[in-house]
Symmetry: D2
Subunit: 432 residues, 4 copies
């Protein structure tokens, strides 16, 4: 059996009208000659599944979509504090190629506009790094994220280098403000190279899925950036990713995103998905017309809007109060599933404390089964531990079934008076 998703994506692509308006960018000749009919869409789950339709093997240059990933590298290499000293995180309300420096500090408003992105580029490896080393670092990192070796489109690069006066202007301005210690011309050359890396929508979906996955590669689970870095990048994409159309995008699409002048758009839904669309003609804000349309359809049809209350939310707890063990003793069983964070932990503690008889009927046998939990946040862990401790303290007999060792420190198989066990012979095996 094939999953129905590819068919669904094909429907979306077909529904996205081909006769929409939009213009190819006229400032970079190589982009101006792109085929306006290209159209592609890709999704990548955080566990590595990739779906794509349309011109999904057609390469195009990454352009501004490189910005969030290079911002991530800058934070990893130079540290968040240093990066924040050079680049703010406020939406500017300006167009992408505005200078947009904060009046008070001279910092670029955010790393999603050119000024901030050029500053971010210069913080990869760190001040003084040479251009070749930076470019190599960026191509290597992008290749790792995409899961295949990427390379520069030399003809687009050449075209960019002939038309980079605005970026040179910005870089010299940053240098004048003390925000760019390196040679402006060299930094802008490196910046042009990062923008000219050729990718497909599949590459972009996989790359952004790594952001959605908290900085771990989706195909291997390997961590390539700290989860705080991924979070910082997604936050900035959310508030500043779509230039002066950010407010419309946040209300209508609700997915952290970034677009590029070659027609690509990526989105990343934390904990869920990476998405990428490709269609060259642009709207006046510089975003792909059909790319925006595709994202709007996906968000609406697939319920991806981050502000939807019907989030793929609750970890699940199933409380069963009559399960007999091998000895015929009845246990109150609380099974917990999924990724458990604060609200899950709160619900577990509340449900157990609310079970009839827990507080009245004398000592009870309680089994807290964490077998199907696949992640547990610190606050949830503390709440589980404290719940088990209190139950045991009140005289109940408590077992915590925790084969993955979320709750117990090292070899300490107790939480207060509760016993922590890795397996339970009399329970049927559960596959999460």
């Amino acid at each position: 059996m094939q999953t129905p998703l590819p068919d669904y994506l094909s429907e979306v692509l077909t529904a996205c009208s081909p006769d929409q308006e939009g213009e190819l960018p006229d400032d970079i000749p190589e982009l101006a000659s792109a085929d306006p009919g290209r159209l592609a869409l890709a999704l990548a789950t955080i566990d590595g599944e990739v779906y794509s339709v349309g011109d999904d093997e057609v390469p195009f240059t990454i352009q501004s979509i490189a910005k969030p990933f290079v911002y991530a590298l800058a934070i990893q290499d130079s540290g968040l504090d240093t990066v924040l000293q050079h680049i703010s995180v406020e939406p500017s309300g300006d167009a992408f190629n505005e200078l947009s420096l904060e009046a008070s500090t001279g910092r670029p408003f955010n790393p999603m506009i050119n000024a901030g992105a050029i500053a971010a580029h210069s913080l990869v490896i760190g001040p003084g790094a040479d251009e070749g080393a930076r470019t190599e670092r960026i191509i290597d990192a992008f290749s790792a994220l995409a899961g295949r070796q990427l390379s520069i489109d030399e003809s687009v690069l050449e075209s960019e280098l002939e038309n980079n006066h605005r970026n040179l202007g910005i870089a010299h301005m940053l240098r004048a403000s003390g925000l760019l210690p390196d040679d402006p011309a060299e930094v802008v050359r490196g910046y042009a190279k990062q923008s000219s890396i050729a990718v497909t929508v599949r590459d972009l979906a996989v790359m952004s899925a790594a952001l959605a996955n908290g900085g771990r590669l989706v195909h291997s689970g390997e961590r390539v950036m700290h989860s705080h870095v991924a979070r910082q990048v997604l936050s900035v994409m959310m508030s500043c990713g779509m230039y002066d159309a950010t407010g419309d995008w946040v209300t209508q699409v609700g997915i952290p995103a970034k677009s590029g002048v070659a027609g690509g758009i990526v989105g990343a839904l934390p904990g869920q998905l990476g998405i990428a669309a490709f269609s060259p003609p642009l709207d006046p804000q510089g975003n792909s017309v059909r790319g925006v349309d595709l994202f709007q359809r996906l968000s609406r049809d697939m319920g991806l809007h981050l502000m939807d209350a019907e989030q793929p939310s609750h970890s699940v707890i199933r409380v069963i109060d009559e399960v007999a063990d091998d000895a015929g003793e009845a246990w109150l069983v609380a099974e917990v599933f999924g990724a458990v964070r604060f609200s899950g932990g709160e619900r577990v503690a509340r449900r157990i404390s609310g079970v009839p008889g827990i507080d009245e009927g004398g000592p009870t046998r309680v089994l807290l089964d964490l077998t199907a939990v696949h992640s547990l946040s610190e606050v949830a862990r503390r709440m589980f531990v404290e719940t088990a401790r209190r139950l045991a303290h009140e005289g109940h007999r408590v077992l915590v079934l925790d084969p993955q060792g979320f709750t117990a420190d090292a070899d300490e198989p107790t939480i207060g008076d509760a016993r922590v066990v890795g397996s339970l012979p009399w329970r049927r095996d559960a596959g999460a």
Copy 2:
């Protein structure tokens, strides 16, 4: 047993240093004389549980925190299109009391600044409504959200009315631009009243939990606004809620929020929680100093940042391939739990299609158990239905256990060749 959450909240409150700086607002005498030592914190879950600590019974005026809720009323009463014609949704980067009108359209930048909030107030009920009716509508709606009768703090109101020249200025400007059909003085009086409604942190947490709950009251589940309205409001809180500190807030706290000049801050985490903090001294941006601190601690400790990949995410699927029915026949059982949206549906379809033997070993008995699902998005429903249909079409024997009727239209008990049943005698009863 008591749940450990209250103790945890007390710890957070204690950790929030009392000697932080901050100033009482000096433009409204009644607020300037507030007790700067007040401190309170409340959480409300979307299923109606409320936890609170500190001065949680001390009333204070809601001030700008009324803005998102009145914006919701405006959309309900006048329609989103009309509201968008009067008020944009873009972050302005300006301070809260700036005029901040868009150059091209004259519209206020967003409904979280005064200009936009005054316009939103005038769209409650609709143009031409009298001030008394609007005030009554707002108090009634806020009371319903809070779950208790709220009222205006008359002494603060009086103080506001004596110091409302800036708002009168804004209202006359809006009137001059044709964005305010009603009498500016009357609208500003009504606006002062909405700002002077007295609330506690418990009220605010419960009110914002209704936004987090997609527009349903948390104590009764009653729907008081369309889920699209709640989504629009949360989106605007996310991108514009904290004035010119929005970028810092989004990166550091990551929760849609709104602050008020009386020292309140509310946050709403879609699908999870409402949060409210209260402490009168303000920072230069007009946000409660200790309120911001509390939110930063909660976000960090409790893992509430919306851009965290470790979201309380995945609905859970448990696939068990050897369950015998009463007749001793083995079934492949796929149990699905929780709120299922796109990524959950995708996972279910993929897991089933990937079970060893499904495609090779000849016809199989498959049971798709949706008993524990509590919501199912349209795209996920389509994927379930299509998965069942394809399996049946390929010759498998398929049962969809769907006692809540998510999948089947009306009385049609089949999906393709799959049979949809409401209960399964040989399955033990599961409490979700």
Copy 3:
């Protein structure tokens, strides 16, 4: 014989094409119904001669042209320091109805935009004055300047009062910033009245000629404002008078000016002329289309551009070295004419010091004849006195013929050793 000027003005009026574009203002109904074909032009010299052509008897409302004159009253009544604390003098580059407050001080940018003009209105008489008294003061002052009793056009006033939300907005904003101590509604009502005073181009030309005349009425020579006040007003007209078209106006016309939305424009050329034009249709900047055209023609044809080097400049000195007195003695006579300021004084001193024989040929008789001087600046006076003193000190016989008493303090008929006389019997009478 008639002077040829009226014919010349008629030519200019005829040359100003009637089919130029332009729109009547649509925000005040009474102005929107004006006759777009009206056209008038008037010049008034600083000695009281008035020339006018076209619809020179047709009254129209003064509108923003009241601003410079009310600014003058504000300075006279409240003092320049107080006025500068409330209103800056910088060009704003904004349109006339923008709020345009300085970020740092909250002051309106200048008194030629509405915000500054409303603040200026409130400084007439001073804070706390009632609206009636201010209106009376303004009408009286304008009537004195125009040389006839002016009055308010009640139907335009009524129309203004129904459409003054923007000004009310501005006034409340100023009040909120502490820049307007009085009731905003009352101040805006008074402001509407000042704008509704009916005038003709003859009135306006005479009024602005008083500014050109250093604050003295042109028909009577009566001083109605200090010369520093007139200078301040003209300076602000020069740099801020034509809104966002100021740069074009300064380069192309070069005359301090102010326009009104009813189609009037006034200009004032210091020491020379007042000019007024009238034609209702406006350009997008809110300036009369044909009024601007008339001023461009006048400036070009009549050489009125203030930055023209060929200024009606030099006072004249005529040095004649062979004039015999009654006794037959030869005198070196230096006659000085006109308004003498620094450059005139410099020239006199230089010319006398450069006369052949002054330094070589032994004592000489020198007559410094100031009979035809009609004004003498302080620095020029000092130079004359010092020149006479030095000549006498070097042994020359020096007479200063100064029947108007420019040089001598009271009864002291000497300057050093030079003798100051009021008349000279052996000189023929000269009519200046």
Copy 4:
């Protein structure tokens, strides 16, 4: 006898307190090491007299004071229309080193800020000119204006070239906007050279006196730029010359001016004077603290404010009604002196038409004596001619004594019936 002016200037210099605050610019090392105690002042009249005091022989770099002169060259070489297409003339209200491009057109706001000045530099000779040729053209032109060979201060130039990132940023931005066809680095190098030309206050006073003189060298009278160019430059100096302190400068000093970061300030009073001051310490706006003080004193003491009504204004007319010619016939004599423009012409026509007896007493002999006129504007010429024509037509006997030929075309010795003569034997010779 010495003229008292040098003593006066010395007094002004002494009065200018040496202990005023101000900082040396810290971005160019060579300027940061200037002697803060240097102080100099110079005046140059438009007929070539130069007065100077203090450190009047100390050279310093011209810096931004080059801007108005290079703007003049750009207009001469590329034409005003082309220059206006590249550079606007509106005050920007920004600091000198802001980018300050107009939103609508991308043009720099005016040629007095760096962006506009860099664009102006590139229009010297014209697009495509090489840097050496431009530099030579500029040095030659400045040398001609100053009346001596000027040269570049190589050590300041070197320091500038090491710190020109802001200007490089601006130039690349202009290139990106299509406003700078040449290589940005080359243009900025040339711009640095123009800024590094070494001058004294005497040089600057003489150079600006040429602007005041309508584009003619003051020592030779040679025309080096069209009078319209000088007028355009002075207009822009008036409205934009002192950056964001322009409004204060226009009201308080009232002289078109330009300052440089090395401590120089020049002013030019049309038809009168060039002024230059020098003192290195700068105020926060980048203007020389003591230089501003000197200009304020000069303007106040010497009555130089352009908006003063007591302008060195009126040409003078002396009407004498009883002068006998050799034949004993009585003539009505009207002598006109000085530079005559519109208001002078108007006065002559009016005075003659108002002489008792002209219209009543039958034919009269009228002598219009223009011997002492030194310039006559077109409108004044037309008024004289028309006045003479009308008088003759009415039967009077009219002679126009016009030895300089202002009124008569070529060989035509009549105006209507009036006779134009070049000399009058029976009149004594008058030295103007």
